[in-house]
Symmetry: C2
Subunit: 194 residues, 2 copies
């Protein structure tokens, strides 16, 4: 059986869980609190020297990490990966963009507010600005479109919905982004996220 070391407050971990659930893959979830130092133990660092969740241990004992790499590993061959090389590449483009231009702002602010308990005035304004820039880009991309890539849900939607749906916990007001609000509901329904 698969073992998933994950923190169930983390979008990066939940996106992997949602895909495994949808694909009906058996796994053991080991709740791993990133604020407790659990990812800094010698045993954990032996599995993932980057000390990050999610970290998955495959049936044969080999470890694998990075949320979007895990989505690609488990999602390969599913209907959530476009067959055409261009749409596939656009999906990849969103996956890399998510980790570079979205997660470091939306997820980080949400962590600081909702998990670390900081108040609004303790948040770097630059993080809010860049988070809103990321949301504005998504809002524009979703204009007249149901999904980020092509005509069906892909791993790009799954990956990006993970922190976008909880952005309000970081005080990002999603009512400013009606295309995103509709897409979040659509994506949650498509992937069975509740």
């Amino acid at each position: 059986m698969l073992t998933v070391y994950g923190d169930n407050r983390s979008g990066n971990c939940l996106k992997v869980k949602w895909l495994l659930d949808l694909m009906r893959l058996d796994y053991q979830w080991i709740e791993t609190d990133v604020t407790s130092g659990a990812t800094r133990s010698e045993a954990f660092l032996a599995l993932n020297p980057a000390g990050q969740t999610p970290t998955v241990v495959l049936e044969d004992g080999r470890p694998l990490a990075q949320s979007n790499a895990l989505l690609l590993y488990f999602g390969e061959g599913s209907r959530f990966v476009p067959a055409g090389p261009y749409d596939r590449a656009r999906m990849m483009e969103w996956l890399f963009w998510e980790q570079y231009s979205h997660e470091p702002y939306i997820a980080v602010v949400r962590f600081q507010r909702a998990i670390a308990g900081r108040s609004a005035d303790q948040i770097e304004p630059r993080l809010m600005e860049r988070g809103h820039a990321a949301l504005a880009r998504m809002e524009q991309a979703l204009e007249g479109r149901d999904w980020l890539v092509g005509e069906a849900p892909t791993l790009a939607d799954l990956s990006l919905v993970a922190y976008t749906r909880v952005a309000p916990e970081g005080d990002f007001d999603l009512t400013r982004y009606p295309n995103i609000v509709a897409w979040v509901a659509r994506t949650e329904a498509a992937f069975g996220i509740s």
Copy 2:
């Protein structure tokens, strides 16, 4: 013919150029200075709303961005993408790690020092710390190994060498990392980087 909008001081752009050269693909390079506002023009944002280089326009006029997504698009089917799903996933793991845990420190400090002209005392200490943490992780991963994944060079090596080779321009002393120094030379030779 392909069109590549790239800044030739940017590792993210050069990694794509190196792969296109190695695969003998014809392209037109349009030098795009990221400090000049060129990536903020209406025409550029129509190609890539994220306003980032590299941005490639394919033969049929469709745009594609994100350096590592471009490596995967052009490198698919080459000897630089492992055939086995596990090694392929490990390569993906490094590609996502590069954009999340390496580029935002190594490339950013190098940009601030070598391109924006800041002095050492104008660099956030946290950026140096995290950059060294990234290098330490690579040093450990390369212990007793020639390549980051498996027994041959992959897109993971190509992607990571782009900013690692110029890390000294950001005052990251690579002599502290002998495995990295040897791997940089090996990777430059494997991909014909001069």
